[in-house]
Each structure stands twice: as structure tokens, then as C-alpha cells.
Amino acid sequence: MTRTVYLKEILEDEKMIKRRIVQNNFSGVLITFISSLVVVPLVLILFYLLVNGISSINLDFIMNLPKPVGESGGGIFNAIAGSLIIVAVALVLSVPLAVLGGIYLSEYPDSKTAELVRFSNDILQGTPSIVIGIFAWVLVVVPMGHFSAFSGSVALGVMVIPLVLKATEETLKRIPSELREAAAAMGVPYHRVILKVVVPTGLKGIVNGILLGATRISGETAPLLFTAFGSPFMNVNAGKPMSSLPLVIYNYATSPYDEWHKMAWGASLLLIIAVFGINMLARIFVSKKGGR
């Protein structure tokens, strides 16, 4: 038997082809099933929150301030405002650093500094959030002598740096070098190539990274426990203790009062709706037409 005939026989063996088709279909179904398991926790969380939290959510809940124990009603407006302020200040503090760092890592990937920065960034990403909270406490709360929203923002800012930095680096690295060369070949200095070509081309990815980072830190509780601390009052002064949604959830859920438990459910639902909303925003933003 020549080799050609032999190979033809084994390659066109009907039984074997049938078996492969069956195997293929089976693994297809298996993989689809296993991947869809990923959705299960999220669906369960959403369902549980909806069942327990939906009854607490109304206009009063969103627009009013908390009332003392025993009085019914009251809302968590101060926590909603506090979360917005703390997260916004955290982003203002960290995004410039993280984006510039990401640009550096993408454009000068092989320098010694870049290696050090990349390594440190990975470690920082793995640092437990409670440790970052202590860091902000030592850095800001102790010198100031009291808790403050600002110290919470510092903690959350430190937390979000690695996420935004990595997102920026990865986005910019994917931009074809031909674009940089096209600009450089017209005598454009490299700093302008970065500012005018690289960053605008990768802007969507960077903004997406920032939005996802914002959702990540908006649910953080541990770093806020001994920084922003929480407050039952309306406060917009970042120099003073401030409430936030995760803190409210933590405080209410660990309290002995049923009324407060219900409010914790409501606040949880609100928080996850906000996270969901920002995620959707990020998706819409990225899928918009044009660009890369």
C-alpha cells in the first residue's frame, strides 16, 4: 500500500469523521453550559437584591436624609452624594497619574523605569483594600487629626491607579506602530505623536478603563472604614467625614434594627444599579461608530 492510499484511507474513514462530529457537538454544548454558569451568581445577586430591596426604594429614600432609630422613613441622600463626591475626587487624583503612567509603559516599554513601574503596579493591584485603607489613614487621617472624605478618596484613588494604568497601557499597545510611524515620518516630534495620534486613537479604551475603574471603587467598603468613616448628616465638605453607599450598607446591615436592614437592602440595590449603569455607559461609549 503506498503512502497516499494509506493516508487517504485513514483521513476519509467515515466512522472516524462521524465520531469527530459527535465529539465536536458534545464539547460545544459542554462549553456553552459551563460558560453560562458564569452568569448564575450575578443573576442570583440581582434577584435577591430586587426581592429584598425594591420595597425600600422610593423617592423619599433617594432624596431624604437618614432619621434617627425609631423614627420611620428617611433616606440615604447623603450617602449617594457622598459616594459621588468621594469617587469623583478619587478619580481626579488618580486618573492623570494612571493615564500618564500607562502612556509611559506603552511608549517606552523596555526601559528600566518601565519595568519597575509595571512590577509595582501589579503588586499594587494585588494589595488588599484594607491595607490601602490603612495607608491612607497613616498618610492623611493621622496628620489631619480626624477622618475625612478626602482621605477616603486618597484610598480609593490608590486602588484605582493600577486598573486605569493597565487599561491605558493595554489599549495603547494595541495601536498599530504604523500610525506612530506615519506621524513621525512627517517630522512630528514624538511627544506630539503621543498627544495627537496615540492618545486620541486609544481614547475610547482609556475612558472605558476609567469607567470600569470607577465602578470597581464605588463599591469598596474596607478602605473607607477608617478614612471617610461615614456620617449621618449631609456633608459636602471633603475635609470632614462623609457617608457613602458601601459604608451605609455596612453600618445598616450590621445594626440590630429591622428598619435599617431594609435600608441596607435598598442601598445595595441602588449601588448595583449604578454599577450596572456605568458599565452600560462604558459599553455604549466603546461601541460607538468610527475609530478603532
Partner: protein
């Protein structure tokens, strides 16, 4: 060179280029006359692209890229002047069309001005856009959609847009790095026609894999092999009576 009356525009003297320690091109010497189309031919990996990337000093942007020797343009050694100046005199078009995805067609044409922060009056920028797109034989196809993104065009149109972008800077030399290798035959022949028209205004160095293309469009040809310049001269002569055996073998398809 036989034309003594005409100073060559560009002269390469003992040009060598390296990636780290590896020598990619070895002691290249040749001169390019004004308003000529010179094609640079040779098998893959022989250093064609590196050669033209040395001319506008892009080679040194690649990691580990260095070069020695002289590149003299109008009596000035390009290795001694600032790369920004060099690249404003010498335009480049790359293998794959690379319009800026964030810019419209209009903005892509004047990208050299926009990116360098050079302010020009509206009227003049309109003129530059129309003039460059016309020279690149793209004006009629895009004049009604100048505000569309450059990336909406077809591959061949994108490449002509890139040529227009290079022409808008009024270069004296245009480097084309296999400008048609990513294009279909029809788009290729349009670019070839264009190259022939363009030499009225600009001197062109074109890397090509395509022997027939070199024969169709170029006045002079450089044949490179393993980093060396094997033969340089009039395209017609080289294609009819190659002096070197390797050139003949390459042209007749024995290797490459």
C-alpha cells in the same frame, strides 16, 4: 553617473545599517537624480525597507536600529541634521495604508500640519487638500465626503490618501515602501500610474517585490541581495542586460 550637468539630489555613501550587532545593509553607495523614480528590488530580507528607512532616519526609531555612513541631500548630510527637518523634506508611504483613524479625509491630508501644530489659513488649507488629493488621483472620488473618516475608504483609496498626506507637506523626495503589496491589481495599477505622474514634482524611491512593477514605473533600479547593493543603473539596461549573475537569476525568477 553620466549626466554631469545635473547634480544628483541624493547620494548614499558607505551606508550601513544595523539591528543591534547585526548588519542589515552593507556599504551602500549610489546617487539618485532629481525627478527620477528609483525602484529598490531584491528578495525578502535583503534590506530594501531598511535602506529607505535610513534615508528619512526612521530606521533609528526601531529598537536597536543604528546606521553609519553618509546620506547627502543637496550637499547636506542628513545624518547631521535634526530628524524633524529631514522628515519634512522627505515623505514616506508605508506598506499598509495607515490613515489616522480619528481624523476625517480632510484632516488626514493636512495631518502633517495639524500634528505639527502649524497653523495655516483656511483658504490655503483648502487649496492644499484639493491639490494634494488631485495629485494623488483621489479628489474626484472623495470631494463630496471630505468629512468622512479616512478609514471608511477602500484599501486602494486609503493608500492614495496616504500619498496625498505625504504630498501635502511638499516633500522633495517620496519614499514608497512596497506601496501596493496590500492592494488588489486594479488599485495597484492606479498607484503605478500615479507614481509616474508624480515624478514631475518629486523624486521617488520605491521598494518593490514586483519585478514587473519596477520595469513599468522606474527610471533606475537598485538590486539588493543579502544587504549588499549588487547592481544599480538604468532600469531598461538592467532588465535587458544585467551585469551581475545574481541580478539575472532574480529577474528570471530563479530565486526570490
Amino acid at each position: 553617473m553620466s549626466r554631469k550637468s545635473e547634480e544628483p539630489l541624493l547620494q548614499l555613501e558607505n551606508l550601513s545599517a544595523y539591528f543591534h550587532d547585526k548588519r542589515i545593509i552593507k556599504d551602500i553607495n549610489f546617487s539618485v537624480g532629481r525627478n527620477k523614480v528609483v525602484s529598490i528590488m531584491g528578495p525578502s530580507g535583503c534590506g530594501k525597507t531598511t535602506l529607505i528607512r535610513c534615508v528619512n532616519r526612521m530606521h533609528e526609531m526601531s529598537p536597536g536600529g543604528t546606521a553609519t555612513g553618509k546620506i547627502i541631500m543637496d550637499g547636506e548630510d542628513l545624518n547631521k541634521i535634526n530628524t524633524i527637518k529631514v522628515r519634512r523634506k522627505i515623505g514616506m508611504v508605508f506598506q499598509r495604508p495607515n490613515p489616522f483613524p480619528t481624523m476625517t479625509i480632510y484632516e488626514n491630508v493636512i495631518a502633517g500640519y495639524l500634528l505639527n501644530g502649524i497653523k495655516i489659513p483656511k483658504k490655503i488649507s483648502h487649496e492644499i487638500v484639493e491639490d494634494s488629493l488631485s495629485k494623488a488621483a483621489l479628489w474626484d472620488e472623495v470631494k463630496d465626503g471630505l468629512n468622512k473618516k479616512g478609514t471608511y475608504l477602500s484599501g486602494g483609496q486609503q493608500q492614495r490618501l496616504c500619498i496625498a498626506r505625504a504630498l501635502a507637506m511638499n516633500p522633495e523626495i517620496l519614499l514608497l515602501d512596497e506601496p501596493t503589496s496590500a492592494l488588489d491589481p486594479k488599485a495597484t495599477s492606479r498607484i503605478e500610474e500615479l507614481v509616474v505622474q508624480l515624478k514631475e514634482n518629486v523624486t521617488i524611491l520605491m521598494v518593490t517585490h514586483n519585478i514587473a512593477q519596477a520595469a513599468r514605473v522606474s527610471d533606475d533600479t537598485a538590486f539588493m541581495y543579502l544587504g549588499e547593493l549588487v547592481e544599480y543603473g538604468s532600469t531598461k539596461e538592467m532588465f535587458t542586460v544585467p551585469k551581475d549573475k545574481r541580478t539575472e537569476e532574480y529577474l528570471t525568477g530563479k530565486f526570490g
